[in-house]
């Protein structure tokens, strides 16, 4: 993590304003509560639950997507729920899509792995590892050729660099100087089988070998990611050239390939104010690696938020999620007769 201290934004100085710090917290909390709701819904409706949840990644998604402007586009992965919510997608429509309902973003055609919303700049979400890289570079090519000042973001995990498409996409973006932000969320867990098995010592060796500006950032620290992403987005817009960010974070203990479990419990914001509340088998993750609680602790220490403020935000988010769930559950399943429709444009 030694390269983090050299993040370019920090070199330039400047602090994040209070409103943005609080907004990032609220956004991260909504992302967290959304995923907790997904688990609750999966328990109540037996037909769903093969979800790749975004818990533990909130800092990355909230910060990177907050750094974008309208018109910018993003391609994401199977672990996309947080990205959509971070960019302002409607939690009700997203939840309805995960449940395969008519009022979901894509009328239940795509589901958890493929939620797509153009209105918030999301194009296809690809469940094929590395797939988002090629598509995002293509969006970068289209933006460049149409002389749009927009950028394209590829969100992907560390495993994507094991795939040919990951390498080929990076190479193409560098050769043609395309306005693409490569946002790698590296959740490889020490001691577990990592997603990536690269011979390179560091993931960043790969983009660097292809002469792409590359930086490492602590993916649990939302302010660090926000600074890095803001710097990267500005640089891409100014130069048109790609930037690669690796955000390092620790995989959430409840993550499982087939069905996630809420092993760390429903997030308790009081833990952000009283460390002695953090106990149990996963105390280390909750205490050190949970980006939501980490940011809350920092805001509490800086006296930006009191416990009462935080709980008030939580109630607001909760209210939003209750509405979202009611909307999703009230939505009917798509009419079976509609299945053959829409194969071709």
């Amino acid at each position: 993590m030694d390269e983090v201290a050299a993040a370019p934004w920090d070199r330039q100085g400047g602090e994040i304003d209070t409103d943005t710090r609080v907004t990032l917290f609220e956004r991260m909390l909504l992302m967290r509560r959304f995923e907790e709701e997904v688990i609750a819904v999966a328990a109540a409706h037996k037909y769903i639950g093969r979800n790749h949840l975004y818990i533990g990644h909130e800092a990355t998604g909230a910060a990177v997507l907050a750094a974008l402007r309208p018109g910018d586009v993003a391609h994401t992965t199977h672990r996309n729920h947080g990205h959509l919510i971070a960019r302002g997608a409607d939690p009700g429509k997203a939840l309805a899509e995960i449940m395969g309902r008519e009022n979901g973003y894509n009328r239940g055609r795509g589901g958890t792995w493929h939620i797509c919303s153009r209105e918030v700049g999301f194009l296809s979400t690809s469940a094929m590892v590395g797939g988002s890289v090629g598509l995002a570079v293509g969006a970068g090519l289209a933006a460049q050729r149409a002389r749009r000042r927009t950028i394209s973001v590829a969100l992907f995990g560390d495993g994507a660099l094991d795939e040919g498409i990951g390498y080929e996409g990076l190479n193409f973006a560098s050769v043609f100087n395309l306005p693409v932000l490569f946002m790698c969320e590296n959740n490889a867990k020490t001691g577990q089988r990592p997603s990536s098995m690269l011979a390179a010592q560091s993931l960043l060796d790969v983009p660097r070998a292809l002469r792409i500006e590359s930086v490492l950032v602590n993916g649990v620290d939302v302010e660090a990611v926000y600074k890095t992403a803001t710097w990267a987005v500005e640089r891409i817009r100014r130069t048109g050239a790609p930037v690669f960010i690796e955000a390092k974070l620790e995989r959430w203990p409840g993550s499982h390939q087939l069905k996630p479990e809420l092993t760390t419990g429903r997030t308790n914001l009081r833990m952000g104010f009283d460390l002695s509340r953090i106990t149990g088998e996963h105390a280390d993750w909750i205490g050190q690696q949970d980006p939501v609680l980490r940011h809350l602790r920092i805001l509490a220490e800086a006296k930006v938020l009191t416990e009462a403020d935080a709980l008030a935000i939580d109630r607001r988010v909760d209210e939003q999620m209750k509405k979202a769930r009611a909307y999703a559950e009230a939505s009917p399943f798509p009419n079976p007769e509609s299945a053959p429709m829409g194969v071709f444009a």
Binding site: H114, C116, R118, S126, G140, F344
Partner: protein
């Protein structure tokens, strides 16, 4: 009426591309050696000189990545024409083609589309060996969401290209390399050949031969031979495999009551099998004999000139098979 000019299959395609690139700035061409080199078979010659690096893009030798990028660009406003030099190399783009391009429209519930043309070359006859001689259109025709076009003449190639370039879906065009120098009369004015409309290349009443791509020409030669034996053969070219003009094919069968399907791709689970099964279902009441297939043998295409012709249907074999089907 002015005499119609004749141009080659290759020139017809370049002309269609040029017309569309002039009319629509969103159309770009990408592929290996498509730029200054003008294509390894000269199939993009002249485009680079007119449209430059901005719109005629030489990619790295990176089919999977470059095609994924073409799909991404199609989703965000461009209309790429992506070239895969040999259809044998489709293996390298399959993930992007099957899991992205074909499905994006459906799985986004129509929020996105992929207006893209993938053009590629195919076929035996040049002694290029097992990795450069296949005709793999059936693979792609199996995947819902892809349109598959196999032009057999310069005229069809030009008109089908125009339709492909204006289609909002991924369209694959398979070009037989041995057809590049063949000519047909082509009007000066732009025109489109719609998909899903088969073409009767030779009208007849005794037997229908449904032939795909270059096999149309072998079937026409066989028809001439059969005529000497008093058989009146109809040769029908589907032109697009997806969408397939089932109605048009059935119309021919109702007239002749016998069908031979000729396909340059492999026989097992192939395009001929699909057409034969469809006609068995849809035209059963009009059939006097089982629908018969003649396709490439189920072996890799060998290089040697003594072996290669054996694996591919030809005029002689088509004529023989037709006579067997007629009970002669």
């Amino acid at each position: 009426m002015p005499e119609e000019r004749e141009i080659t299959y290759r020139a017809a395609i370049i002309e269609a591309l040029r017309e569309e690139m002039r009319a629509d700035p969103r159309v770009i061409v990408l592929g290996e050696d498509v730029g200054a080199a003008g294509g390894v078979f000269k199939q993009t010659e002249g485009l680079f000189a007119e449209f430059g690096t901005e719109r005629v893009i030489d990619t790295p030798i990176s089919e999977s990545g470059a095609f994924g990028i073409a799909v991404g660009a199609a989703m965000t406003g461009l209309r790429p024409v992506f070239e895969v030099m040999f259809c044998d190399f489709l293996t390298l783009v399959m993930d992007q083609l099957v899991n992205q391009a074909a499905k994006v429209h459906y799985m986004s519930n129509g929020l996105l589309s992929v207006p893209l043309v993938l053009r590629t070359t195919m076929g035996t006859g040049a002694n290029l060996g097992p990795q450069h001689s296949q005709s793999l259109y059936a693979w792609t025709a199996h995947v819902p969401g892809l349109k598959v076009v196999v032009p057999s003449t310069a005229y069809d190639a030009k008109g089908l290209y125009r339709s492909a370039l204006r289609d909002d879906n991924p369209v694959l065009i398979f070009e037989d390399r041995l057809l590049y120098n063949t000519k047909s009369p082509i009007p000066e004015e732009p025109f489109a050949v719609p998909f899903g409309r088969c073409d009767v290349k030779r009208a007849g009443s005794d037997i229908t031969i449904v032939a795909v791509g270059r096999m149309v020409h072998a079937a026409l030669a066989a028809a001439t031979r059969l005529a000497e034996h008093g058989l009146d053969t109809e040769v029908v070219d589907p032109r697009s495999l997806v969408p397939l003009d089932v109605e048009g094919l059935v119309r021919s069968v109702r007239k002749t009551n016998r069908v031979l399907v000729v396909d340059g791709g492999h026989r097992q689970y192939g395009a001929a099998a699909e057409i034969a099964a469809t006609l068995s279902e849809e035209a059963f009441d009009w059939l006097d004999a089982p629908v018969t297939r003649l396709a490439a043998e189920d072996v890799p295409i060998p290089l040697s000139r003594s072996l290669e012709p054996l694996v591919q249907p030809n005029e002689m074999r088509i004529a023989e098979q037709a006579q067997i089907l007629m009970g002669r």
